[in-house]
């Protein structure tokens, strides 16, 4: 139970605690802090692109560093730690165990994140979030690139440690009366996503080491000048990071599985199809990595194989959407803030998925590859689906974490601003891509269509920023001054919550 502001403790008691809710709180605060930092970078870049020609950013190198750190931060320092925060709070409760399986390992996994974040932010590397060699080997300025590599290395280890902890907690520490088939879907989402991490991350860990030795000049794995192959890096990278997309999205879907039945006042339509779809998604996530690389000169056969692998992920995702809609059907839905975020997230999840099907169709890659279409497409996933699900869950767990309620009206205003903003930004980016604007550009030629669309996007980005500011204000104010929440039923829905305060364990077991 973490009601810090009602029963204050010295800060080091939280920092050195190994209790799962304390570590969850640390994850939560860290991830949200990084969200605002990464978001600020995005806003600066959008202002820069409002008009052709330099606006507020001095040179293209600064801009390149900004989008690199923006991507790295929001994926590795916001979305992943946020999922860990939710998992830390809820997975032990859901499997009815007193804590995570390895509390100290849990604390270690968390405490690797701040130094890694510091390395990434202080270095401010410029080679994009996927550090494609040979650019990252021969062209990228020195301390920044190496700091990024070490930062990512540390984050990778942290993810794997966290993943081992989740998997062991779920499989080994689950209460014997609770069969795996009855386990809540959110716990299932963590089981499947963390298993993907364990399988996928080591590949990238190896690639990072090879990249580092390449940069030091002692090897030439990826440098064609000495006989290496840069495309090998792409394969290693995407073998980790295509599954990683599912690592990001599966917990967000799990969070929606917690919110939607609760606010529809009905059980989930089909628990077993949810489980089946999670397992399917984790398996097929490994079958599609090279669809990021159609343009690198792959053969027709390779492209066909990876197109089929990509399309194979669609039925499972569609089953989730069906499950959500069928759960809402016949319910009595309360449109509190968390529910609004979940429904908005599903709508954008569908759009992102439809765009993904179009992307995977091989010839269309000639139109969309590395254009703003791709930017719009994956932002619909990471912002529209994953962050929306996460924001909804942040509202959902707020009364539990603080013992107080947030301001419901402001929460809904945050949602409306963000939804309209996301639609304006990311749908327009799709169209801008169709008009041929490449991604990762500091400046663009003054074609009238490009200018108009960039301005719409920047306007949308401001809506997102205003929403985020409202959110921050709402949470900061409500943490201290909000009205006390009814901890049995903060959303006045009836029924039982999976809220950690119901756990039988006393405060701070591990401390």
């Amino acid at each position: 139970m973490v009601l810090e502001l009602q029963k204050p403790r010295p800060i080091w008691q939280i920092m050195f605690s190994t209790h799962h809710t304390d570590i969850g709180l640390l994850y939560l605060i860290t991830s949200l802090a990084f969200f605002f930092m990464g978001g600020a970078l995005a806003l600066a870049m959008r202002i820069e692109l409002f008009l052709p020609g330099p606006q507020i950013i001095a040179d293209s190198m600064t801009f390149n560093r900004m989008f690199t750190v923006h991507g790295t931060t929001l994926i590795f320092l916001f979305i992943l730690p946020f999922a860990s925060a939710v998992g830390n709070y809820f997975v032990p409760i859901m499997v009815r165990y007193k804590d995570m399986a390895y509390p100290k390992l849990n604390a270690i996994a968390f405490w690797m994140i701040p130094p890694a974040g510091a390395l990434i932010w202080l270095g401010f590397a410029d080679f994009t979030w996927y550090a494609q060699p040979p650019y990252s080997v021969i062209s990228s300025p020195a301390p920044a690139a190496d700091m990024w590599i070490f930062g990512l290395k540390i984050l990778g280890v942290s993810s794997v440690l966290g993943a081992i902890n989740f998997v062991v907690t779920i499989l080994k520490c689950k209460h014997p009366d609770l069969p795996l088939s009855k386990m809540p879907l959110m716990a299932w989402s963590f089981l499947s996503s963390q298993l993907i991490i364990i399988v996928a991350i080591p590949t990238f860990a190896a690639a990072l080491l090879m990249l580092l030795t390449d940069r030091m000049g002692v090897s030439g794995f990826f440098d064609p000048a000495v006989g290496g192959d840069p495309i090998a890096y792409s394969h290693l990278f995407w073998f980790t990071f295509h599954p990683e997309v599912y690592v990001l999205v599966i917990p967000a879907i799990g969070m929606m599985y917690e919110i939607i039945p609760r606010f529809s006042r009905k059980p989930i339509f089909s628990h077993s199809s949810g489980v089946f779809a999670f397992i399917m998604l984790s398996l097929v996530s490994f079958a599609s990595w090279a669809h990021h690389m159609y343009a690198t000169g792959m053969s027709f056969t390779e492209k066909t194989v990876f197109m089929i692998g990509t399309l194979a992920a669609v039925p499972a995702s569609a089953m989730h959407v069906f499950n959500f809609l069928a759960t809402m059907w016949g319910g009595r839905i309360k449109f509190a803030t968390p529910m609004m975020w979940s429904i908005g997230g599903i709508a954008l999840f569908f759009s992102a998925g439809a765009g993904g099907v179009v992307n995977s169709a091989m010839p269309l890659d000639f139109i969309t590859h590395d254009s703003y279409w791709v930017v719009g497409h994956f932002h619909l996933f990471v912002m529209g689906t994953i962050a929306f699900g996460s924001f909804g869950y942040a509202y959902y767990m707020f009364p539990y974490v603080t013992g107080r309620m947030y301001n419901e009206k402001l929460g809904q205003v945050h949602f409306i601003f963000s939804f309209v903003g996301a639609v304006l930004v990311f749908f327009t980016q799709h169209v801008l891509g169709l008009f041929g604007m490449p991604r990762r550009v500091f400046d663009y030629p003054p074609f009238p269509e490009w200018i108009a669309m960039n301005q719409i996007i920047t306007f949308g980005a401001f809506l997102l920023a205003i929403g985020a500011a409202i959110w921050l204000g709402n949470f900061v104010y409500s943490m201290g001054k909000g009205k006390p929440a009814d901890m049995e039923d903060p959303f006045e829905l009836g029924g039982k919550y999976y809220y950690p305060y119901q756990s039988k364990t006393p405060h701070h077991v591990g401390y």
Partner: protein, 86 residues
């Protein structure tokens, strides 16, 4: 059931793909293929389908939101609310 559907999908692929292959195999000689035309055609065909499905899905969602919202006059407590277990 699942295996039957899987089998059905496999057979569909086996039949449809070679048929399409055969149908499109007749290229007129002498003229170069215009890649803009074939690729953008494919794109627009897929957009038609995507937007149709999108309309169905979002229409369903909007209907669900209106019909099953708490404040709808026809809303009634679900049967699970009696026991408070769901």
């Amino acid at each position: 059931m699942r295996s039957k559907i899987g089998l059905l999908v496999v057979f569909t692929i086996l039949v449809i793909v070679p048929t399409l292959d055969y149908v499109f195999a007749q290229e007129e000689p002498g003229e170069y293929l215009d890649r803009r035309v074939v690729i953008w055609n494919l794109f627009f065909r897929m957009m038609v389908v995507a937007f149709t499905i999108g309309a169905v899905v979002s229409g369903t969602m909007i209907w669900l939101i209106i019909r099953f919202r708490e404040s709808n006059p026809k809303a009634k407590p679900t049967k699970y609310e009696e026991t408070g277990e769901w």
